[in-house]
Symmetry: C2
Subunit: 137 residues, 2 copies
DNA sequence: TTAAGTGCAAAGGCTTTGCGGTGCC
DNA sequence: GGCACCGCAAAGCCTTTGCACTTAA
């Protein structure tokens, strides 16, 4: 939490009660929440915060790298509270995305010709399929 | 094109002029068009087709596997005319997605624990970064 | 003939923008 | 005290839905 506050100051962002509250909710969440999900989760403890502030704050956090935005397959934007490298399993039926870790995949080499002109931030394997709940396997 | 028509018939879909026209545009396109992009591209040659038909047809095509939907990072749904396995490079600034092929990555093994209960359809590496136009490298 | 497909229009979600009031620095 | 931030409201996209007309089979 100290680190979060420092980070905001570094970035020239003001440390407001709303931002702290949103940050706490994010750190407690283990999924890939949408802005609406975060907003709902907050409404119990912080009933006066606006959806707008939540949404804008999430975008701001993503901008400074506190969280990330996740690839999605339609619908609303999803955020990822896990900023360490990891990979995704995606159900094409229900859209659910779950994480997994694999150091081997983290370090798979992408051909140089592909990324020569890019400033690479990271790489992620996305496995698509049908989850058990949706009739897979 | 014959194969496309056969496929429609197999799936019980009627072969309409609109569907043929959309299919042609798709095959000529090399990117990851949105419904709107396809619609615009058609408007020169097929000015009477409606956006609705384009959009619904794209969803239908994705449903039967003629095209695929692509992960996106906000904004509108994107389609992929390349159905063979391939990988993506994604610019986090402008959102552009480009393809690359790499057989080594195609066959990277995902740990069994991850996919045990899934019916896996495919896997894709997504490399994130900043492209030259957006200030990368 | 008839079930599927098309086009139009409206509605519904999510996101973005603008602006006056508020509060961190 | 200034400037960033918040909350509210409206507008803008994109997608989805409903319905009457048309058309491929």
């Amino acid at each position: 939490m100290e680190r979060f506050i420092d980070r905001c100051r570094q970035e020239g962002l003001k440390v407001t009660p709303q931002r702290i509250a949103i940050y706490q909710v994010l750190m407690a969440s283990r999924n890939h929440p949408s802005a609406d999900t975060v907003y709902r989760e907050m409404s119990a403890t912080h009933p006066t915060i606006s959806f707008d502030t939540v949404n804008r704050t999430l975008l701001t956090f993503a901008d400074i790298g506190v969280i990330k935005t996740v690839e999605s397959y339609s619908g609303s934007r999803r955020f990822d509270t896990e900023t360490a490298p990891h990979h995704h399993v995606h159900c094409v039926k229900c859209g659910r995305i779950s994480d997994f870790n694999d150091q081997g995949i983290d370090t798979v080499e992408v051909p140089d010709r592909v990324v020569r002109d890019f400033s690479v931030i990271g790489q992620r394997m996305v496995v698509s399929g049908i989850c058990p709940e949706c009739g897979g396997k």
